[in-house]
């Protein structure tokens, strides 16, 4: 019995690789379609391990700071170049055997630097970068020491002048956990995974169903010579399995063939080494097994709804009408999951819970799958009610009534569109949170704080800053925390800066302030040791606020004036380019100057990379959907060539047939858009907090227009195939 179904399965494989031009073309189309889908799936399955690998390297390269003395002294520095941050560490061994950073053979000595390949390229090609690295380049950091291939990273020998300001370190590598994502980013990621995987699944299904009409005819011929229904199912499975397995191999081959290119591709700071892109073993196994299984199950499900008889009759068996309930039930179930998640707690809180995250992804996936399922039903219902007068729309409507191929294919596009609309809203919300983080970190957009060390040549630095266009004011800020019974932070700066920080307007040299809700300060007259000298707490005014510290407009106070500045506050343009210019200018004087007002750079970078990933994923899937649509559209024209040729033979002009073909795409597309907009926006509305919900109608219109144009362009591309189909020889069937 077992050998019987194996034989039937093998017969199916034999049919798939029939050898005729048509069967090879069909197989190639299916394999290409499934292969592209598999490439994206493997890429998605590699993201986790790739991030983990990158994170491991970052952690391995992180300085392990020591509380007291250690074998190293290190100073972390950052240089800005044309908006890109060049980060590095200046190092010196305190003993004979200072540990070298990962990917570096030995510690660079003063006057030596080890750089990443990308930085070496910049040093070799750009004078301004070379000026910032006067040291001798003694080597290149190996891949193991770089977060990503195009990282701008260096390790330089610590010069004597900075040794005092450097921090003791025991070596490299930290056990600290990875920084966690903002809840809204996790939300975005989960939603993106849900929204991107559903259309991918539909795309793979569509690819395996290419040539279904021809297959049904073939199976009917086999039924005639005595194959039972069960045998036909096995044969169909074998046929579908061949395309799916071949597609799987094509996908794996393409993935590994394209993997080396990863080294050269970096989008907005997101890049990986080729070796990072190795699919998670479990997910890889799921893909390897899942794709063929999904293909076979879809073929079997499709055969359950029709009876392929020996005469080639394809009759509906159990579903005389398209049932609607399960399609809407999918959307409803997804919506219920989303509502429950938002009712259970605020989405910020629940996003910390991975079970809820999975449920959220599943909820969005259900809504999208339901949307894809509703479209063919909706198109059939609308086509039943439409009775156009013109011939072309009439032919299109008749075609839509009898054939669900085009709406089924368009389901993939509509799901991509729906998912994109949901993600657009989520990206908008994430952007709002990111902007807030920025404002939290920097109360005034035009104030830039440069952190300096006690060895930084302040005069040279101020001269360099003065040369940057747009600088309005530079204030030196000195902070000192003298030891005493009542801890206090002394902040000494000019009146302009005090006014900016505390909102006072009566500041004069010698004035002192503390805030009402800030930490207490020692009583007036308390003597404190500042540096090597004694300093008495002056009379001070209490102002509203909670900024910590005793603020002194020091003027010519010799004691506070002797404290080296810890910050320079530069007031200038509020845009990021100004910050970059500042870092570029100060980097030439001292690479150790740090731009502290760069608002939560990590989170912004994360948001940028997430946005890139989401947009990249959407673009890739849209391309896949369009490729799938094109393949399926040509397949449809080919399958229906005899009907088309009959119409031509009966005198229907070819332009009417072309117009009918466009109508046949336009009607489901219009309905798809009408479905995608409310479902996409509705899903986003359920997911994000109501007060955050914003719709960018221009962006929405662009997305919708892109999808519509893509569908119509694909339809136009089928016209040559249509012209071929209307030749009289298409009337022949044998």
């Amino acid at each position: 019995m077992t050998s019987r179904w194996v034989a039937d399965l093998v017969l199916g494989v034999r049919l798939a690789v029939g050898g005729s031009r048509t069967s090879w073309a069909r197989l190639a189309l299916t394999a290409a379609g499934v292969g592209l889908g598999v490439v994206v799936l493997l890429l998605a399955a590699s993201i986790g391990p790739a991030r983990e690998a990158k994170s491991e390297r970052v952690r391995a390269a992180a300085l392990d700071l020591a509380a007291a003395a250690g074998p190293l002294r290190a100073r972390e520095v950052a240089v800005s170049w044309q908006g890109r941050r060049i980060v590095g560490v200046e190092l010196a061994a305190t003993g004979a055997d200072g540990p070298a950073p990962p990917g570096v053979g030995r510690l660079p000595r003063p006057g030596e630097v080890v750089v990443s390949p990308e930085l070496l390229h910049l040093i070799e090609t750009d004078d301004s970068v070379r000026a910032r690295f006067p040291e001798r380049v003694i080597g290149v950091i190996a891949d193991v020491g770089l977060p990503r291939p195009k990282s701008l990273l260096f390790y330089a020998g610590l010069s004597d002048v900075h040794t005092e300001g450097a921090t003791p370190a025991t070596g490299f590598g930290t056990d600290q956990p990875r920084p966690t994502l903002l809840p809204v980013y996790r939300l975005l990621m989960v939603a993106a995974i849900g929204a991107l995987l559903v259309p991918l699944g539909i795309f793979v299904l569509v690819a395996t169903r290419l040539g279904a009409t021809g297959r049904d005819r073939r199976l009917a011929a086999i039924r005639l010579v005595g194959a039972s229904r069960a045998q036909v199912r096995w044969i169909a499975s074998g046929e579908t399995l061949t395309g799916a397995v071949l597609g799987l191999f094509v996908g794996v081959a393409l993935f590994f063939a394209a993997r080396p290119l990863a080294r050269f591709i970096e989008v907005e700071g997101v890049g990986f080494f080729p070796t990072d892109l190795l699919p998670d073993p479990l997910l890889g196994a799921v893909i390897a097994v899942g794709v063929p299984v999904v293909a076979v199950v879809s073929a079997l499900v499709a055969l359950r709804t029709v009876d392929i008889g020996p005469l080639g009759l394809v009759e509906a068996v159990d579903q005389p009408v398209r049932r609607a309930w399960w399609r809407f039930a999918l959307i409803g179930a997804g919506a219920v999951v989303l509502v429950v998640i938002s009712v259970v707690g605020s989405f910020r809180r629940v996003m910390a819970d991975s079970v809820t995250a999975v449920a959220l992804g599943a909820g969005i996936g259900l809504v999208l799958a339901g949307t894809g399922a509703v479209l063919p039903w909706l198109v059939a219902r609308v086509a039943d009610r439409l009775h156009p007068e013109e011939v072309a729309p009439m032919l299109a409507v008749r075609g839509l009534r009898s054939d669900s191929g085009m709406p089924r294919v368009l389901s993939g596009v509509v799901v991509v569109l729906t998912g994109s609309l949901t993600l657009q809203i989520l990206l908008g919300v994430a952007a709002q949170f990111t902007a807030e983080s920025a404002l939290d970190a920097r109360s005034e957009a035009d104030r830039w704080v440069l952190g300096v060390s006690e060895h930084t040549p302040i005069r040279s630095l101020e001269e360099a800053i003065a040369l940057v266009g747009g600088v309005q004011r530079v204030s030196e800020v000195r902070t000192y925390a003298p030891r005493g019974e009542v801890p206090v932070l002394l902040v000494s700066t000019d009146c302009a800066e005090i006014a900016a920080r505390l909102g006072v307007d009566d500041c004069a040299p010698g004035s002192a302030y503390r805030t009402s809700d800030g930490p207490a300060v020692p009583p007036v007259g308390t003597r404190l040791t500042v540096g090597e000298q004694t300093w008495a707490v002056p009379e001070h005014e209490v102002v509203p606020g909670k900024v910590p510290g005793l603020f002194v407009a020091s003027g010519s106070d010799p004691v506070l004036g002797a404290v080296p500045p810890s910050e320079l506050v530069v007031v200038g343009d509020p845009d990021q380019a100004f910050g970059d210019s500042l870092l570029a200018a100060t980097g030439r004087v001292d690479r150790g100057v740090e731009l502290r007002s760069t608002f939560q750079a990590g989170q912004v970078e994360l948001f940028t990379s997430l946005r890139s990933g989401v947009i990249g994923g959407s673009v890739l899937l849209t391309l896949l959907a369009v490729v799938g649509l094109a393949a399926a559209a040509v397949d449809q024209v080919w399958e229906r060539r005899r009907h088309t040729a009959v119409l031509t033979a009966n005198g229907v002009p070819s332009r009417v047939l072309a117009s009918a073909a466009l109508w046949q795409s336009a009607i489901p597309t219009g309905l798809g858009v009408a479905l995608a907009i409310p479902v996409g926006l509705g899903t986003a509305w359920l997911v994000v907090p109501a007060e955050r919900f914003r719709v960018d109608w221009a962006e929405l219109a662009t997305t919708v227009a892109t999808a519509v144009v893509a569908v119509l362009v694909v339809s136009l591309c089928t016209l040559p195939a249509l012209r071929h189909a209307i030749r009289p020889d298409s009337l022949r069937t044998e």
């Binding site: 010579v225 005595g226 069937t733």
Partner: protein, 225 residues
């Protein structure tokens, strides 16, 4: 001699259109029966009902005293594979398979080993004088060659009844004659009955007797010869 296959008072409608209206036909082992009639008279529907491909709305089809409508789909499929053979005008050969594989297909579906199935298929291709197209696909053969391959496939399992629906309808007269000669000769050699649906008297001339179907009703006529 009792009937091998017998249809009695068959009625079958497609929607509101009646195709059979009390038609009947009896076929004995080894005889060739021509079913004639104008287009749309119901002769093909009669053939499909007798082969168990279509189920009549009413009436009975008995094959070796077993009522076909009482058989499950699997049993009817098995009958088509072992006891019945089919030669149609169109759509019977699988375009992806070679002619040899097409002829061996019913045997393979029945579980015969490939080597044996192909050896028997080769014999039949030889007998029907088309062994030169064994490795070609149906699309690469002429109409006459294709129909002879179809005849070989119909006979390869040693069926008791061959159903031929306009087997020469797409052939020129010379090829048509040749196909009919080969079909009837081979059927007689193997003692297979042939139910031959045709509207051509020239083709019907190869039969032992004729039945005319008109407006869904059948009527036996005297042999033409």
């Amino acid at each position: 001699m009792s009937a091998l296959l017998e249809a009695t008072d068959l009625r079958k409608s497609f929607g509101p259109t009646p195709a059979l209206d009390g038609a009947g036909l009896s076929v004995r082992a080894g005889e060739v029966v021509a079913v004639m009639g104008p287009s749309g008279s119901g002769k093909s529907t009669l053939l499909h009902c007798m082969a168990g491909i279509l189920t009549p709305d009413s009436g009975v089809v008995r094959y070796r005293d077993v009522e076909l409508s009482s058989l499950a789909d699997g049993e009817r499929s098995e009958l088509r594979r072992t006891d019945f053979g089919f030669v149609f005008q169109f759509g019977q050969l699988v375009p992806e398979l070679s002619c040899l594989e097409n002829v061996a297909l019913p045997l393979r579906l029945g579980g015969t080993k490939r080597r044996e199935a192909e050896a028997r298929a080769k014999d039949w291709l030889d007998r029907l004088e088309v062994s030169d197209v064994a490795d070609k696909r149906p699309g690469e053969t002429s109409g006459g060659q294709g129909q002879r391959v179809a005849v070989a496939r119909a006979l390869v399992t040693g069926p008791r009844v061959v159903f031929a629906d306009e087997p020469t309808g797409a052939l020129d007269s010379l090829n048509g004659e040749r196909v009919m000669q080969l079909l009837t000769t081979a059927a007689r050699e193997t003692n297979a009955a042939v139910v031959l649906v045709t509207h051509e008297a020239r083709v019907a001339a190869y039969s032992d007797r004729e039945v005319v179907v008109r407006d869904g009703r059948s009527r036996e006529v005297e042999p033409v010869r």
